[in-house]
């Protein structure tokens, strides 16, 4: 079958989709967006969390056909999504991105995949990379280790902060309880979400008492 939907603000068309294919498979293997991760493929770990019409879902549990005509935001589009939300005063629809996706090629080529560089100035300041507040906070707080859970956690945390800009620790734990992490012990993830919330509240002009 053919599926038409929007990914990170860009209209996409997937052809020859087998009816059993998940949204996760289509994103990863057909759209060239491997950011959403394939850790359990049964909705238990949250590594594949994306927003479907603004709502966080495990994309492994969504049949590709279900997204016909709908809007998807993945971790690849998160920075642009957050930027537009900040500009336009909140956008939970998932439709605000426009050009963030790199869709059109499949997977990650070997050439693209292998090089990383250590840049102390960049990694200290985030200079040169347009990241959303939650992405920057994950880096700064040391919440990324192996990083496999990170994309799903970022999408979930970003949505939680959109709903609840000033979460208590119990709120954060409840909000992220669908996302497993095996490396961090979650403490630095808590730190990252607190940091993102604090930075956001510092940049949002006070409405006055």
């Amino acid at each position: 079958m053919r599926v038409n939907f929007t990914v990170n603000g860009r209209q996409q068309e997937a052809d020859d989709v087998w009816e059993g294919e998940s949204l996760l498979y289509v994103l990863r293997e057909r759209m060239g967006l491997p950011g959403s991760k394939n850790a359990c493929e049964q909705g238990e770990c949250g590594s594949c969390t994306v927003r479907l019409d603004g709502v966080p879902v495990c994309s492994c549990l969504v049949a590709a056909g279900q997204v016909e005509g709908r809007d998807v935001v993945t971790v690849e589009g998160l920075a642009e999504f957050a930027r537009q939300r900040a500009q336009h005063g909140g956008c939970a629809s998932g439709a605000c991105g426009d050009d963030a996706g790199k869709a059109g090629r499949a997977g990650t080529s070997l050439q693209d995949a292998q090089q990383w560089q250590s840049r102390p100035s960049d990694s200290q300041t985030g200079e040169g990379d347009e990241l959303s507040p939650i992405q920057q906070a994950f880096i700064d707080a040391g919440a990324v280790q192996c990083g496999f859970c990170t994309p799903g956690l970022l999408v979930a945390a970003d949505e939680m902060l959109e709903r609840n800009p000033d979460p208590s620790d119990a709120d954060i734990r409840e909000g992220l309880s669908g996302n497993l992490c095996r490396c961090t012990g979650y403490e630095k993830i808590m730190d990252a979400v607190r940091l993102a919330a604090a930075r956001q509240s510092a940049t949002v002009p006070s409405q006055g008492a």
């Binding site: 491997p34 991760k37 997977g107 040391g142 280790q145």
Partner: protein
Amino acid sequence: MADTRTTGIPFNVTQGSKTKGGIGESTLRPDGTLKVTGEFAYSSDMWHEDMLWGQILRSPVAHAEILSIDTGEALATPGVYAVLTYDDLPTDVKNYGLEIQDTPVLAHGKVRHHGEPVAIVAADHPETARRAAAKIKVEYRELPVITDEASATAPDAILVHEGRDDHHIGHVPHPNIVHRQPIVRGNAEEAAKKADFVVKGEYYFGMQDQAFLGPESGLAVPSEDGGVDLYVATQWLHSDLKQIAPVLGLPEDKVRMTLSGVGGAFGGREDLSMQIHACLLALRTGKPVKIVYNRFESFFGHVHRHPARLYYEHGATKDGKLTHMKCKIVLDGGAYASASPAVVGNASSLSVGPYVIDDVDIEAIALYSNNPPCGAMRGFGAVQACFAYEAQMDKLADKVGMDRVAFRQLNAMEQGTLLPTGQPVDSPAPVAELLRRVQAMPLPMERQWESSEGSDVRQLPGGLSNTTHGEGVVRGVGYAVGIKNVGFSEGFDDYSTAKVRMEVINGEAVATVHTAMAEVGQGGITVHAQIARTELGVGQVTIHPADTQVGSAGSTSASRQTYVTGGAVKNACELVREKVLEIGRRKKGTYHPAWATAELLLEGGKVVTDGGEVLADLVDVLEGEVVELEEEWRHRPTVPFDLVTGQGNGHVQYSFAAHRAVVEVDTELGLVKVIELACAQDVGKALNPLSVVGQIQGGTLQGMGIAVMEEIVVDPKTAKVRNPSFTDYLLPTILDTPTIPVDVLELADDHAPYGLRGIGEAPTLSSTPAVLAAIRNATGLELDRTPVRPEHLTGTGPA
């Protein structure tokens, strides 16, 4: 500037500034941005034009003869390119293994555990491959299963490996025992007579899974020279290579391996998983083949932590001094050896824990059985022992009538204490101090679920299930401490290699560090860049991708990589620095006498004297020259433990951590909530404090997982795995996780680079017994197994 130099006037116009981003700073991960944007390529993200998908058919039974395999229908499926079985293996090398080559690439004649690979398929869509695999017809004749020590060593027991001829066979009492290590020191029988109190205990430690999130996966690409390029997530590229090449019948230089993004490891990627299968399919079809396990397969595709039965006896005088210890530790290694012999060595040599006991009688064995194969996991044999000896310490302290922490401190080892192997602990061993520190941390508030705004059920056992509002909830506090060895022990040549290059790129001095170290999330690449900055005084460091084009780095396990590969990087940098200074002397030596007379350093992009005088810019020294060298680096050698007495300097270094757990238990429903799990650990030197704390918190949580929820459940009648999924194998979520305050102590180990200690594993040891001790403290129950389940707390089910 040039004028100043040509005059020969001393060039000391500025003071050298320390290089930013060096060791001791919490520099951020070089791969962090890629990981938060989704661009970082994990092994399951690899893609190649015209790529096929591989699929493995696994045994549905634990122990059986294979009577026949019919692949005809599978091969005839449209879209299928190859179906391979044992008969298709290209050489006489049909097994692999870390120490004993007893693991079949594909089952031949027999399957020995549930989920063993029997056949492999390559097809153009993963679903096609799965469906084709399901069409392979295998006829099994089931055999009785061996599942414990009794069935393994019964007189008429079927041998799991008939015709074993490995080097351990001469020292084991039964062929179904992989390895046995006794350790005898002093005279436990005699010493026992001095004991005023004796406690005995039998403990069971459940089978834990590494449960790394990134599934086993990789991409094999056939090359024109008949070789293969393999992109894979692993812990040790060169160990994989040594096992893969002979099976493929290729020289090692025709199997080129490159590390792709690793989604966690924890020991579970020490053994091969899909590596050979992907290469075989790629070489057979002439096309790139990608294999990605699903989570179900992942539970069958890697070894687990050894479940263990531990029998302990300790004695103490009425003054609280330990008199003796006897123990027997039975580890279930499952169907294949994997790392079992080394796990036995660790479990036995660390079985007394961080205590002074001169008279011991120890025996550890690992079984062959038809249970899932077990091997390396964070803590590696020391974890199981720590669970048991710490339970014993509490029991004995209670009998003596001493405070449990004070009892431990009274008996704590110190620098110079001999291990039961006779090896002295010749670096700081701050066991009593770590206990003091963890005890000194403020306790979390009582009834923390209550606030001025009412009660928050989320903070109670049972959480949002709303099962209690505090009635029936009791609190307990427990302590534990442990000792873990760092690095590979018992005479293993545990070296690493680093290639370091220095040159000027775009007007800036740049260092490149190339090692084969597997970055599995621990942050090794961050630390390598910090070391290079510190030693070479450059700001910009490029970490070259890990591959087999450089010498071995050894395994990313045993808390060893920062020590050993970090040491190799440091060593290589020092040698590069010498060469750079030689060039400097040649080019600039005439300008200032300090070039010949002073101790020179590279700092902040400049050559400086130890007094801080700047002699030259690195850019000017290096201009037009490239300095590059590759060096191996070794730590102090070790020796194997004597097979009769267990004596020998078998370990490289030790790592110590202590925990205090605070739990709340709903005694009516048997639900446990861990409120806080505080840790104090000696890290020698924190090269990257942020990463150090992250490692300690992660290790602590894995220890908590086995205490209260994690266990692979194997049916004792059929040896089948009952819960191979994230639905049924329970992992701690952020809701299950307590706060984990960490107190880091830095007592340098003079033998190690920068004084550092391996840190990754120690926090996994004491976390588990601390939680158990806290639950016992809350409930008054004995609780001698992990994980603790509700039925153990309510007395409503079997142990």
